[in-house]
Symmetry: C2
Subunit: 151 residues, 2 copies
Amino acid sequence: MNKPLFQSPGDKKKLESTVELTPRFDSNGLITAVVTDYESGELLMVAHMNDEALARTIETGQSHFWSRSRQELWHKGSTSGTTQQVHEIRTDCDQDAIWLKVSVSGANATCHTGMPGCFYRRIEIAGGKTRLVRDAIDPLFDPAEIYGNKT
Amino acid sequence: MNKPLFQSPGDKKKLESTVELTPRFDSNGLITAVVTDYESGELLMVAHMNDEALARTIETGQSHFWSRSRQELWHKGSTSGTTQQVHEIRTDCDQDAIWLKVSVSGANATCHTGMPGCFYRRIEIAGGKTRLVRDAIDPLFDPAEIYGNKT
């Protein structure tokens, strides 16, 4: 792509007050994206977007990310059917993060493990030691059935 | 610090199912931290932690981050009085993000602009163009009074 998809950010004060979307991508060209459930408010996942993923999300109304592991544009749910319909998009004070409020299609499982969200483990702290405690919920789909060998 | 503060992460399958906290810091030694209000569930801010910030958060029960702009450990609220008491910490499937559920002391404003949260602007999309629409809320403090020239 030759033409930049978004205008360049200004200085910190301008970023905080401007009415223009001027996302501040990092040195890898990425911005953090936080996804919550539109109705429950629950945190579903944290991912990253490059300029194209953000532009496609705005154009289509469905979440697109940049997969850092596969190094490709990632239309969330294109394999599993759990696409995300975007109800609202926000950005933060210095425009280096994006917040998507979404509803999820299909099995309503956002995580590739089949769990409703990716944050299914609480960090328990006792006696200076930590342990991850998993939510007492069964996965909503079997990852092997959905993704085969892709996970 | 000579001794690593956390154990090294295993492979993807292990990360998803282990009961051990083995955070996956990126090439800059950072992990993404998402902070929500414990009661309302509202997204307050997105920041980053290095190993020390995460360890200090676990030890003290107050949010600590790594300030990328100042390149220093950041005890959130130490200047403004808006410290964050951590009620719950979670991590995600591949342990490259941390979710803090907090209550905020003082003026109950998380953002350095004085706004309750950092995501005070919605991206409005109309006719293929974007515009940021600010929440109709006044800042809860005057940044100049709190930070002086530090902002």
